[in-house]
């Protein structure tokens, strides 16, 4: 303030910088606070309905008797089947691209295709499943059809995260294996995969988490919203957690909104457990890499 020479005065940066910094921080904090507020609100709403009964009952016309058991069981079946299909195929594709593909034309085609596939809206997979699995292959509106569509949906996620994991394995270890006279596959099986496994599993859990929360494609290919029974096999009709919630939230009676809130809490807790597992695995992964 006391320096008379204007060329020497510092640009008005201190205050402005602090303001901009605060603004930017707000942009991070505010959405997170909103999310926290939402979760608190939902949990508050759900508290009057959330009980063991809610988890072990079937849906009902009376909001205060309705339960979410078929949704839980359906979701469990669905992700188990989705994982069974998507994980081996996804990891296989990742291995091909990282370990065999090189710069070949086929690898390039797969690469370009994956980038596009990852951006296809989930509901389109519902249309694909409806036409291909439900109708053309005659699976009907079954768990199997839903799981296959869901497997195709999460495949790009599995492939990309597995590739990340494979890329973290140092090239020197592959060379060490090859120099011992092992074939490419022997090195992959016994050196590369064990090292990449926690990373691959982390990605797998993320994919599963995505599949659990996804409702749109399953609605299209015919998951039902009101189920009074439990699925008994891959051919069975089914519902899943988010579809059950969707059903409740779109009903006019306020009682069902409470059911929806309770369903959301169940869904979020499930996801929380899965994320916890993913974080734990990532930690183990990092420990392993550091030795």
């Amino acid at each position: 303030m006391s320096t008379p020479d204007p060329a020497r005065t510092r640009p008005p940066s201190r205050l402005a910088e602090q303001l901009v910094r605060a603004l930017c921080l707000t942009a991070v904090i505010l959405p997170v606070l909103l999310l926290v507020g939402l979760i608190v609100d939902v949990t508050g709403q759900a508290s009057e309905r959330l009980s063991w009964d809610f988890i072990t009952s079937f849906p009902s016309r009376h909001p205060d008797e309705a339960g979410i058991l078929p949704g839980i069981v359906g979701s469990f079946w669905l992700i188990a089947m989705t994982g069974t299909v998507a994980l081996p195929v996804g990891v296989g594709a990742a291995i091909y691209l990282e370990e065999y593909g090189g710069r070949g034309r086929l690898a390039n085609l797969i690469e370009v295709n994956l980038a596009n596939l990852a951006g296809v809206p989930s509901i389109i997979y519902g249309l694909l499943g409806l036409e291909l699995f439900v109708r053309a292959l005659g699976m009907g509106r079954s768990l199997a059809a839903g799981a296959l569509a869901m497997a195709l949906l999460v495949l790009p996620i599995v492939i990309m995260s597995s590739r990340e994991a494979l890329r973290t394995v140092p090239r020197t270890l592959r060379e060490a294996g090859m120099a011992l006279g092992a074939t490419r596959w022997q090195v992959i099986r016994q050196v590369v995969l064990p090292m990449a496994m926690p990373g691959i599993l982390t990605g797998a859990i993320l994919a599963i988490a995505r599949a659990i929360g996804e409702a749109a494609p399953l609605i299209i290919l015919g998951a039902i919203t009101y189920v009074g029974f439990l699925p008994d096999g891959p051919g069975s009709p089914f519902t899943v957690l988010p579809i059950q919630i969707f059903n409740w939230v779109s009903r006019p009676q306020p009682g069902f909104v409470v059911d929806a809130a309770a369903g959301i809490v169940v869904l979020l807790v499930t996801l929380l457990v899965l994320s916890g597992a993913a974080i734990y695995l990532r930690h183990r992964f990092e420990r392993l890499r550091e030795g």
Partner: protein, 304 residues
């Protein structure tokens, strides 16, 4: 001295098992290509059937979408308008928040803070969309109705806002990567010229990262256009050619859900409408994604 069986170097170059494994892995990779082919095939097939009954002129010329009513109209524009309106609202929220958050994470946050805040912010994208739908319908709309009394129970505004919150991390994460990729030497050059921190960030770093940031925004647009459950729950089911965020609208995705929920018999014209709408949606997102990839590639080309 050397075991003669070992001394030979000759064998089938790679054993059959080895070759079979590679083929199998390749097949896994090709499955993703097949998936794309199947999507295109299915959409094309049903859409062609659709257009054998409904003319392109109707589809692109009519301004009403009423295929489920007695008086049928097949003009796609109301659905496109609903989709664009909700997406525009979402981007209007996500762009400033995402960009400022990216600047904070990349330029201001200490590494320890960043390590905590970044994954926390990314949680927003991990919450199932059904939860945002509930949020928009049950919490956001009643809240906004106090501010805007004429806001309908179903409207474009609340789901648009909820969607915006959901895609903030998409913009912030990818933009942050882009900002990170700006070479340190550029920043140092700016500082050496006497630029302040803010001047460096807003005049040097952000413009340099622009194509990378643009790629993230375009990708977020694609995500918003394809988003389904939030709009299906909170935007309504009334196809309407409007830019008014206060009234019920129907997006392309919400329409597909509406038909999917009903018992529309397969093979009927109503059934085929969802494939026609799906094909339009697929094309839209495909073009948007392509644009995003272009931008990202341009950015990587400059600062990869």
């Amino acid at each position: 001295m050397v075991d003669p069986s070992r001394s030979s170097l000759i064998r089938a170059r790679t054993t059959t098992g080895e070759r079979l494994t590679e083929r199998l892995l390749l097949a896994c990779g090709l499955l993703s290509v097949l998936t794309t082919a199947a999507i295109v095939g299915v959409l094309l097939l049903e859409t062609l059937e659709f257009f054998s009954e409904v003319s392109l002129a109707q589809f692109f010329g009519d301004t009403q979408w009423t295929p489920l009513f007695a008086d049928k109209h097949f003009g796609i524009w109301p659905l496109v308008a609903g989709t664009l309106l909700t997406s525009a609202i979402a981007i209007a929220v996500a762009l400033p928040f995402g960009l400022l958050a990216a600047v904070y994470l990349a330029e201001f946050a200490r590494p320890g803070v960043r390590r905590v805040l970044k994954p926390t912010l990314e949680l927003l994208a991990g919450v199932p969309t059904i939860v945002y739908g509930y949020f928009a319908l049950v919490a956001l709309t009643p809240l906004l109705q106090r501010l805007i009394p004429e806001l309908a129970g179903f409207n474009a505004l609340s789901p648009g806002l909820a969607m915006g919150i959901m895609i903030i991390p998409m913009i912030s994460s990818l933009s942050e990567d882009a900002i990170h990729a700006v070479p340190r030497t550029l920043r140092e050059a700016a500082y050496a010229l006497g630029a302040s921190r803010l001047q460096t960030i807003f005049r040097i770093v952000l413009p340099t990262a622009m194509s990378g940031i643009a790629a993230s925004v375009v990708l977020a647009v694609s995500r918003a256009v394809g988003e389904t459950m939030i709009v299906a729950i909170a935007a309504g089911q009334q196809p309407r050619l409007t830019a008014d965020p206060r009234v019920p609208v129907e997006t392309m995705t919400a329409y597909i859900v509406q038909v999917g929920l009903g018992d529309t018999p397969t093979g009927t014209l109503e059934y085929r409408t969802i494939f026609a709408v799906g094909a339009a949606l697929f094309l839209m997102t495909f073009v948007i994604n392509l644009a995003s990839q272009r931008l990202a590639r341009r950015f990587r080309g400059a600062y990869g």
